[in-house]
């Protein structure tokens, strides 16, 4: 049986590993290669690495760092940050990365996903959508953002996710800006709507503060990816840096209970 994917998401900022809150206040949490080594030992399902500087600074992906990460990584790796062309994506795949994610470049030009799919195969093309809940008195729903949440777009995230799927994405990652680093739980409503909307695998990121939150998400959405940053790099209310990941037994129990709940 196919299992849900429990995925640590690591952010790279100025060469180090950081964790943000609502996409702000990056806190240094350690060395990226060291973190990969720890997740190897803990046998995590996948790893997502996002360079949060590359797109904002309009620089090329840091290929030297990606090569080091990929060589170290003994689980599937998804890299994102600064990718704007199919050629760059192909170069990253050649370094030993399984999946390449795009965000702002896909919003600017959805046809990029088709070109990427042609170059590296649709199964390796990931679109990350950063989504913020509208907070105005008369505005409901969600808005799509790019450039670390600084630019808002007049696009409906649900319809746009479907458009990116049709354009060539093999996976959609939904990242809730409001929930980022808050550790109070995922936006289950949004996740459920996306799951219903999409035919490609879905991964949800933003808000997990405990394994119970992961269980809640999987209980609502079934076999999807549950990604988290803070949950796997912090411990306790004072956010002491400690890399952790559930044991195989914890993961089995969590998934079994959640899928039973999902089937109702």
């Amino acid at each position: 049986m196919l299992r849900p994917r429990i995925i640590p998401c690591l952010l790279i900022h100025k060469g180090g590993l950081v964790k943000t809150q609502q996409f702000k206040a990056p806190k240094y949490v350690g060395d990226p290669i060291n973190a990969v080594k720890i997740f190897n030992e803990k046998e995590s399902d996948e790893l997502m690495v996002v360079d949060i500087d590359a797109a904002v600074n309009k620089v090329e992906p840091n290929y030297a760092l990606i090569a080091k990460l990929a060589a170290e990584c003994r689980m599937p790796l998804c890299y994102g940050g600064g990718v704007t062309t199919a050629e760059q994506a192909a170069r990253i795949i050649d370094l030993g990365v399984e999946k390449v994610s795009v965000s702002s470049a896909a919003v600017a030009d959805p046809s990029l996903l088709g070109r990427m799919a042609e170059a590296i195969g649709r199964q390796s093309v990931v679109a990350v959508l950063d989504v913020r809940k509208k907070s105005g008195l008369f505005s409901k729903g969600y808005e799509l953002c790019t450039h670390n949440g600084k630019t808002a777009h007049k696009l409906d995230p649900l319809a746009f996710a479907r458009q990116l799927q049709d354009a060539g994405a093999g996976e959609i990652v939904i990242n809730s800006i409001d929930r980022d680093g808050e550790m109070k739980g995922y936006d289950i409503d949004l996740a459920r709507q996306m799951r219903t909307e999409l035919k490609v695998p879905l991964t949800v990121l933003g808000g997990a503060g405990s394994l119970e939150h992961v269980g809640d998400l999987l209980g609502a959405c079934g076999v999807i990816g549950a990604a988290a940053g803070s949950l796997y790099v912090f411990k306790g209310q004072y956010r002491a840096v400690l890399i952790s990941y559930p044991t195989p037994q914890q993961k089995d129990e969590l998934c079994r209970a959640a899928l039973l709940k999902h089937r109702g």
């Binding site: 196919l2 299992r3 190897n40 990584c73 003994r74 490609v200």
Partner: protein, 204 residues
């Protein structure tokens, strides 16, 4: 000596890293001459079937590979699209495959039992292993591997099937026909399960 066939696609570095950890000598082969001396061959592959076949055909390595595998019976393992290339052909493309293991590559999307499931088949799945498969010597129960694909190998001779996995249907995810093996999942990214499988292949 293990040689990893580097014809331009596939995660060569991940295999080199894995074999180094296992303490097994492995190098990449980019030309027919670099294939010389191989006692084990790894045929990786990612992306589209026709692209992979075209690149292998253009690499100049195919005649030597066929001589080594078919005449000298050097053990070989095809991985992901490398497994699919062992078939006679694929619904994904128009080019013929290597036809080393009789079978055809089919799409989940056009198979009734799987067509409504999320595509690609992505993530960790359990393997149902046929008893006696030498690739699974000393394996713990319930092995699981990482998958990332939309097409699957359908073996013509089911005696060649070493393991299946379930995604709407039970599909043939590992085949072994004599010294020729193919795995759809990614042993190089499947933690200790994958390491054990590659070690077993090296020690067959």
């Amino acid at each position: 000596m293990i040689r990893i066939v580097d014809y331009g696609v596939g995660n060569i570095q991940a295999f080199l890293t894995m074999f180094k950890r296992l303490g097994l000598e492995a190098t990449r082969a980019r030309t027919a001459d670099e294939l010389e001396g191989a006692t084990r061959l790894i045929l990786p592959g990612v992306g589209a079937f026709d692209t992979a076949m075209t690149l292998l055909n253009q690499s100049g390595m195919r005649p030597r590979l066929e001589e080594m595998v078919l005449a000298q019976q050097v053990p070989v393992i095809g991985i992901c699209v490398g497994m699919q290339m062992l078939a006679g052909g694929s619904d994904e493309g128009v080019l013929p495959g290597l036809n080393w293991v009789p079978g055809r590559v089919k799409a989940f999307a056009t198979t009734p039992a799987s067509r409504d499931l999320p595509m690609p088949h992505m993530g960790w799945n359990d393997l149902k292993v046929r008893p006696g498969s030498r690739l699974f010597t000393d394996f713990e129960p319930e092995p699981r591997f990482y998958f990332l694909h939309s097409y699957y190998f359908d073996a013509e001779d089911k005696a060649d099937v070493a393991a299946t996995a379930e995604y709407g249907l039970d599909f043939d995810c590992i085949v072994s026909r004599g010294h020729i093996h193919g795995v759809q999942c990614h042993p190089e990214k499947s933690h200790h399960f994958g390491a054990q499988l590659l070690k077993n292949f090296a020690e067959l």
